[in-house]
Amino acid sequence: MTTSDLTLPQAEEKVKGDGGAGTDGRGSRRRVLGAGKQLHAGPVTYVVLVVFAMVSLAPLLWTAIAASRNDQRLAQTPPPLWFGGNLFKNMQAAWDQAGLGTAMLNSTIVAGTITIGTVVFSTLAGFAFAKLRFRFSSTLLLLTIGTMMIPPQLAVVPLYLWMSDLHWANHLPTVILPTLVTAFGTFFMRQYLVQALPTELIEAARVDGANSLRVVWHVVFPAARPAMAVLGLLTFVMAWNDFLWPIIALNQQNPTVQVALNSLGTGYVPDQAVIMAGALLGTLPLLIAFLLFGKQIVGGIMNGAIKG
């Protein structure tokens, strides 16, 4: 895409070219130095970006610093600006007090299942909307997108009542089931597959006698893999951070990480250093995933935005 962006304007420039001075692409390029993205960033840009980057990272860094101190030191002015020696002690305390072991396991199961479900179901539905023809397909797609407008608060009371009727409260499936599909995922996969999956490929498989499931398995899933990975990461972050429904559906004995951290934050005798250690632990899995896949997540958000 970038290459076509770069070559096309040059061609136009030639046509528009004034007095033959810059008839070759390079000449005219130099004449219009003001043109947006061609510019190298100046020192001012770097300074501003460094400031923004520091604002982005400082709270996380400081969480680690606070988590390594003790409660008395945190209450003093000035606040500590460097690490102390209590990090592991505080992490241990947070782990025990908030039941972070159970919480981490629960969050992993919940976010993992939701991720797999969302990715598979979104790919199937996205494929149907992108490449298959069926009656009411555009109406149904519009309906799907429309459901994004409905806030989750609207479902919470009946869900809670039904789950307590079924004695399902405090069980993980209660948290998983309602979030197993998303309209965003369906739309995201559709936008990707419209372009990334050549219709001829499906037809070739059809001609070879493949039924729909084989087409999905051997053609659609391989073609969709990059987008599935990105959607998976985005979904995992969203599911890990979900708050409203888990806090209603689960109790303190069987919490997700967010619910556990909430109980840590509302403890009657709060030890701030321990709370910070808990916060650090609770966000660590996401940060590790982000360190490993940050580039893909960034690319995925940007691609999703362009095509949306």
Binding site: P59, A128, M149, A155, P178, I301
Partner: protein
């Protein structure tokens, strides 16, 4: 690329029998190839049935799960909002008519929560999107290590809500808090971020801003990179400086994306829950000791699960929905006006 795919499709055993199966033609469902010759009739019938039914099978999980856990509960919430449903006695549900709504709409706390949701939404969304555009503009320059910058800007997005809020709560604390300490250097008296009206709303908003600015910046960056370069070049030829190019080329071309982010952020702002809940500590569901940052989301949780009036909580949920619908309609009208004026 197309030619190789066509070559793949060439040895179609029944290409003459189904003209619709021409590669790239994307004919109707029945046109997509025919069963290989020699298959029994029930097999071909199965095949045709598969072609017809599979699209519906593929979209079914979304509609079934959304229907069961989204749409039907939505209607039931309306039903419960017309009943007296108490958390303590779930089996006794008596018809209450519009009492829950009357009760709600005459309650100061509801209007307070609505007002807070609006102001917190405004002071979190507007600066967030403005800063996101600025960052996107900077990231759009040719940068050393451009990917690293993008990943760094997105890091807050990968921080869990609870963790981020707990950290900011400590940063904003009254004595010994980092922010008041820094303010003291520029000669500002310490601010009681949790108790004061605007202070607490600003603090809650800053958590939202911190977490989502980078995300929105990337969305703007993507849109900026899709703007054709020749627009900038002709603007430059006309003598536009960088600021004028940004003002008259970038911003107008970004308009649909801006609208998209405004809608998404508005939806997010109306549902704000985790940040104020945790920021409030022990009085979290009340939105602070004086309800100064109680949002509608918090108010519903407080009424439903802390006080235990699920009928009223349902009425709050439906009121939120109605407000969202009104916002959506206003949005639609505004978009139309914008399009017409273009």
């Amino acid at each position: 690329m197309t030619s190789s795919k066509q070559a793949l499709a060439q040895p179609a055993p029944s290409a003459d029998a189904a003209p619709g199966s021409k590669p790239g033609a994307a004919g109707g469902a029945h046109g997509r190839g025919t069963p290989p010759p020699g298959s029994s009739s029930w097999r071909s019938r199965l095949y045709r049935w598969d072609m017809k039914a599979s699209p519906y099978a593929f979209i079914a999980p979304f509609f079934i799960i959304f229907g069961a856990f989204g749409l039907i509960p939505l209607l039931y919430t309306a039903w419960y909002s017309l009943h007296d449903v108490q958390l303590a006695s779930l089996d006794h549900q008596t018809w209450a008519g519009l009492d829950n709504y009357k009760n709600l709409w005459s309650s100061d706390f509801f209007w307070n929560a609505l007002k807070n949701t609006f102001t917190i939404g405004l002071i979190s969304t507007v600066p967030q999107l403005l800063m996101a555009i600025a960052i996107a503009h900077l990231l759009n320059y040719r940068l050393r290590g451009s990917t690293v910058w993008r990943v760094v800007m997105l890091t807050p997005y990968a921080t869990s809500v609870a963790a981020a809020t707990l950290v900011f709560t400590l940063l904003y604390s009254w004595d010994g808090g980092m922010i008041n300490w820094l303010l003291h250097f520029v000669g500002v008296d310490p601010i009681n971020w949790r108790e004061s009206d605007w202070g607490s709303q600003f603090a809650v908003s800053s958590i939202v801003i911190w977490r989502w600015t980078g995300y929105n910046a990337l969305i703007y960056l993507a849109a900026m990179q899709a703007i054709p370069t020749d627009l900038y070049e002709s603007a430059a030829l006309d003598g536009a400086n960088r600021w004028q190019q940004f003002r008259h080329v970038t911003i107008p071309m970004l308009r649909p994306t801006i609208l998209f982010t405004v809608v998404v952020s508005t939806i997010g702002a109306t549902q704000l829950f985790g940040e104020p809940l945790l920021f409030g500590g022990l009085s979290g569901s009340k939105g602070g000791s004086g309800h100064q940052f109680q949002t509608l989301g918090l108010y519903m949780y407080d009424q439903g699960w802390i006080i235990g009036n699920l009928g009223k909580a349902s009425a709050i949920a439906w009121s939120m929905f109605l407000i969202l619908l009104i916002v959506a309609v206003i949005n639609l009208l505004l978009t139309r006006r914008l399009r017409k004026s273009q």
